[in-house]
Structures are given as structure tokens and as C-alpha cells.
């Protein structure tokens, strides 16, 4: 589950990381009020940042500076409601604009190949790390955390040295890197990224100029499998940015991803569901969704899944592909018959059910006059033909 920058920053703060203060605003007046508070506490400029769960908001014009509260209000008005990669901006983060001396990248990921948490750091901060990885891979330095002991201080120090940091910033970096690791383990995150981690120029308490490292941005992805054991994390799910069908799919316990095509798919198993989409495309059609009904799906789940598919007005044909193992073919067939009796609109359907109780399923489907298919390829080909026929 992806969470917004403001929420990610809260999780970093909870682990003691240096994050400058921010406020979240939902309308231009709130932006202005927040800006006023930052100006009152000494900021010379404020930054207004769109809160969306997609990358590239800076390039899209979703991050702007302002020098007065009124300018902040104008900027806020422009950003709120803006469309960034298909997502409407509903809230912005407001904070004092930092005086940046230099930007770094620091991130923690789960590395599948080494089966460890790996910290990555680069002196080329502020740009997408994937871009750095392509252009200049040697600029990315890595430290692999010990599976039991975690990220050790000397490992963090080596990373800091590798990106060119020296005292007193080096010690700050070590604390931040270990804090990033702690944020990951405390929340079952699979990604924690600070980009940029920046050296900022400030005025110290004694009035002299000073520099320190702070987290200016934060991106965190949480492991869905870990959500249940952390009170409060589920509340960070941004329902505004979800497809309305996502919540319904979660309730049914199925995996559903809405796509752009015309052929609705209902499949058991994630790998087979992807394969079914691929074959639809291979035979010249476009899948309308990815849908894995899971193992052991019963009638109610099948009916619910059918509703989800039909809720998409673009769907012209439905392809059902079930390879029964734990799932019983006759249960699915019964569910399909029930769903068709109740469904809101008539859509041609191709059904393929093999594996456990396939013979019984075939009998039920035949009696109910469903269009059936034996092989995977045949099912996909038939569905594509039906979808094209419907378009004429």
C-alpha cells in the first residue's frame, strides 16, 4: 500500500528522523493560513506540494514556491484540482522552503536476490533513482543489512563516506540511515525513500550560520501482508485515490485491477489471471481487468466478482477461466448461473472450467446454455471474437 508524503513523514518523525514541520491543506484558504503561520515563524518562502501517490509531480507542475501568503493561496488554487497522471489533486503539503546546499538520495528496499534489506545512497539526489541507476550506476552505493542485527553503524558510516559526507554531517547521516531502517521494520514497509535528503543552511541558536541534514521528501510503501498487525496504518490508505472498485474487491477478498479494455476476466490464481490477460491481448483483444478470485472461491465470491466486472461500462464480453485445484469447478459454475440470473445487463460470456469437479461444472453450464471452451487458447480466442462481434 502506498501512502502520502505527509503520512510517510509522520512515520519518519516517529523514529526520530529530522523532518522540517509541514501542514496539510485541502483548499486555497487553508493553504494561505498555513503559509501565514510559516512566514510568522521566520520562513522567507513556502513550498506547496501536491499530495498524490504517483511520481513526477514536480515535472507536472505540482510543486511550487511562494513568497507571500496570497501568492501561496494562488499557487494552492492552481495545484488543488490539478490532474497529475489521471489523479486529481485533493490536498497539498505546505512547509517553509529550505535553503538547500546539496541534495542526496537515501532509500531502503527489500532486495529479493540477496534476501536482505538493502540501503542505497547517492550523492545525485533530487532526481529519480531509477534514472541514476540507468545513467550512472556507479553513483549508487549499497549496504546490505544483517538479517538479525540490522543496519550496523559502520555500514551506515561507509555509505555516508561513499557519498562524500564528513563530520559533523557524517554522524547525522548514520543516525538517519539507521532511522530509515527502523522505520522500515517498525511498519513492515517494503520501501522507505528520502529524496532529497538535503544539507540545508540554517541559522543556529547563537545566530551563526549552520548546516544540517534533513529529510525534505518521503516515500513509503507498506507490505499489505503486514498491515493487520500495525494499529493505525490501515487508516493511512488514501481512499480518494483508489478506484471505487478497489474497496469492494478488498471486501470480497479478491485481487482486482481495473484496466482499459473491453474483455472482463475472471480467473483463479494470480499467474493464470495474468496469463489470461496476456492471451486476450495475444489474440487481438484488450483485457478490461485483472481479477484473481483466489483459491477455493465460493458462489458469493463469484457473484460479487461478476458485479465488479459488469460495473465497468466498457466491458463487452466476459471470459471466465478456472483451473480447479482447491477451487471446485461446480461451485464456480453454480455461482455463474446465479450471477447471470441477477446481473444488471446482458453480456456474452465464455466459460472454461477444468480441474476439480470439471465434469459436474460442464453439465451445469451446458444445461444453462453457457458458451464454453476447453483449452485456454480457445477460451481467449472465442472471447476476443465475441467482443469484436459486439462492436459491429
Amino acid at each position: 500500500m502506498k501512502i502520502q508524503e505527509a503520512d510517510a513523514k509522520s512515520l519518519l518523525l516517529a523514529q526520530g528522523l529530522p523532518v522540517p514541520p509541514w501542514e496539510v491543506a485541502r483548499n486555497p484558504d487553508e493553504v494561505k493560513a498555513a503559509a501565514q503561520r510559516f512566514f510568522a515563524s521566520g520562513a522567507s518562502r513556502v513550498v506547496v506540494k501536491a499530495q498524490v501517490l504517483v511520481g513526477g509531480r514536480g515535472k507536472a507542475g505540482g510543486v511550487k514556491l511562494a513568497s507571500t501568503p496570497d501568492e501561496a493561496r494562488d499557487v494552492g488554487e492552481r495545484i488543488l484540482g490539478m490532474d497529475i497522471k489521471g489523479i486529481t489533486v485533493r490536498k497539498v503539503l505546505v512547509g517553509a522552503a529550505a535553503e538547500i546546499v546539496k541534495e542526496y538520495y537515501l532509500g531502503a528496499i527489500i532486495d529479493r536476490a540477496s534476501r536482505r534489506i538493502v540501503l542505497m545512497a547517492s550523492a545525485e539526489g533530487g532526481v529519480e533513482i531509477e534514472e541514476v541507476a540507468r545513467q550512472n550506476p556507479s553513483a549508487i552505493h549499497r549496504a546490505s543489512a544483517d538479517p538479525e542485527l540490522g543496519l550496523l553503524a559502520f555500514q551506515a558510516r561507509s555509505l555516508g563516506l561513499a557519498v562524500g559526507l564528513r563530520d559533523p554531517l557524517l554522524n547525522q547521516f548514520v543516525a538517519i540511515a539507521q532511522g530509515l531502517f527502523a522505520t522500515m521494520t517498525a511498519n513492515d514497509a517494503d520501501l522507505v525513500e528520502v529524496n532529497p535528503l538535503a544539507i540545508v543552511a540554517e541559522t543556529a541558536a547563537d545566530g551563526k550560520p549552520a548546516q544540517r541534514l534533513v529529510c525534505l521528501d518521503a516515500k513509503i510503501t507498506l507490505d499489505d501482508s503486514g498491515l493487520a498487525r500495525h494499529a493505525g496504518l490501515e487508516a493511512l490508505r488514501d481512499l480518494d485515490e483508489e478506484d471505487p472498485t478497489d474497496a469492494q474487491a478488498r471486501k470480497l477478498g479478491i485481487n482486482f485491477i481495473h484496466l482499459d479494455g473491453t474483455i472482463g476476466c475472471m480467473v483463479n490464481g494470480a499467474g493464470l489471471a495474468m496469463t489470461t490477460m496476456d492471451l486476450v491481448k495475444h489474440f487481438g483483444g484488450e483485457p478490461a481487468n485483472f481479477l484473481d478470485v483466489g483459491g477455493g472461491a465460493r458462489r458469493e465470491t463469484v457473484c460479487g466478482a461478476m458485479e465488479l466486472i459488469l460495473a465497468d461500462p466498457k466491458v463487452k464480453t466476459i471470459l471466465v477461466n478456472i483451473f480447479g485445484g482447491i477451487t471446485r469447478g461446480d461451485e464456480v459454475a453454480a455461482g455463474l448461473i446465479e450471477a447471470r440470473a441477477e446481473q444488471s445487463r446482458e453480456v456474452p460470456m465464455v466459460v472454461r472450467i477444468v480441474g476439480t469437479n470439471a465434469a459436474e461444472a460442464a453439465r451445469l453450464l451446458q444445461e444453462a446454455r453457457f458458451e464454453t471452451a476447453t483449452s485456454l487458447d480457445e477460451a481467449a480466442e472465442k472471447a476476443v471474437a465475441l467482443a469484436k462481434g459486439g462492436a459491429r
Binding site: D188, M274, D278, P287, F290, F323, L376
Partner: protein
Amino acid sequence: MSILVGRDTRLVVQGITGREGEFHTRASIAYGTRVVAGTRPGKGGQMAIDGTVPIFDTVAEAVKQAGANTSVIYIPAAGAPDAILEAVDAGIATVICITEGIPALDMIPVVEAVRRAGAKLIGPNCPGVTSPGRAKVGIIPSSIHKPGRVGVVSRSGTLTYEAVQAMTDAGLGQSSCVGIGGDPIIGTTFLDVLKLFRDDPETDAIVMIGEIGGSAEEEAAAFAAEHLRGVPMAAFIAGRTAPPGRRMGHAGAIISGGSGTAAEKIAALEAAGVRVADSPTQLPRLLLEAGYRA
């Protein structure tokens, strides 16, 4: 011979009294697998599966008193990592974890402990391992198999059934079928299984079923290029049409930062001399084209 499970397998089922545990244990026994014990803490001394399988409180007792050497885990996610560690601590050589939904960070110290103990962990979130005609551990349907000499390895469940069914329909039997699991952190990778197949005198050809996310297929391709040039191989990669940044059901199936795409994996496999199918139904034909004769 076969790999991972076979005639020498003496299975202990961890979680034998649960709904899934009991159901699939019956199917394993019906297939001819030697199920020597089950565990359920607090029910030691009782019998499961119509009085045919003794229940022990611990895996250690199942090893000591029933001679178990392999375990299968049907325990919910919260208890599964502990179950793996218990099995390894008791000296079990091969642990097969079917459980889905274990947080990835829980698995990091667990795979490390398994590695240090010199044991093997298959999964988690996997359908299990079947060596046709010998033993079946896990949830793969018995009916799709035919004994033979093709090794099958896959990250997926039902997609594996699809591929195996296609092979059986074409008359190509299997030596062992291994589901390695769809999670980001798994105990046994494609690479590990390819090494086992290479060293198995009864495996003459290999089918590999991958999917988007991670780089395990690329690592397997590099190994195949170097060590399996003479072995007929065919592969299928699911997720050619998957949108980037979305998790496609399996926790590990995601294209992130432009890497982990099907196109990259297919290119790596083809460069290694592996034939890649457009549909799982083509796999038998590609194996024959690669020179395999059943």
C-alpha cells in the same frame, strides 16, 4: 529419482488438524505419499486422518518417534515463520511452506536460519512439490500429472497446473513439479531448482514458468546459458500486459522502476537458448523443437 520429494520422503504435516491441512493430507496419502506424522501443539498422542496418522506436540517428536525427514506447513501466516524454524531446528531437511500472506520482513531472518542449518525451504506462498508416481506434498491436483522426465519449476499455482496439464495431454511426463512461490522473499529460487534438476539423473528437460517482478528469471537464464546448454528447455513468462507499479495478486509480481518486465525476462531467456512460449499450451511443442524426446 526425482528432486525434493520422492519415495524416501517421510512427511510430517504441521497443522494437520486444520481444514486445509486435513484436506490436502488426505490427497497426499491417496497419491501414495508416506505421511508419517502430524503436529498440533496440545493434541499430542491423538490420531488424525481417521486414526491413521499420529499427532505429536512438536516436530522434534515427529522426527524422533516417526522418522520424519520432510515437513509441509498449513499454518496461518502469523504462526508460519515459527513453524519453519521449529522444523529446521528439529533437523527436517526439506520444509515446504504453503502459507500465503507472511510479511516479507518476517521471512528475512527465517531464510537466513534455514540457510545456516543447511536445510531447504520451498515457499512460502507456494503450491508445493509433486514427483509424479512417487509423492505429492502440497496442493497441486493429483490428476494432472504423468510420471516422466521433464522437470517443471514455477512461481505460480494454477498457472503451473495449466502447464503441467498441457504436458500430460501431449504425453510428456514429469520427474518433479516444483512451485517455488510468488512472494518477494522465498527459500528456494529458480536457480536453486535448476541446479537440482541438472544433477538429477532422471530429469532430461526443463520447463520454467516465471512472471513479472524481481530478477530471478534473469539469474536463472544466466545459469542456463552456462550450465544447461545441452538440456532442452522451454519457458513461459506471465504478465506481458501487466501495468507497471501495480501488484498483480502475488506480492512479488510487480514491475517497479521499469524493471522486472516480462520483455526483459523473455529476452534474457531467449539469449540463453531457452525457447519462450506465447501460451502455456505451446510448451510441449517447444520442448520437442528443442530436441526433447519422451
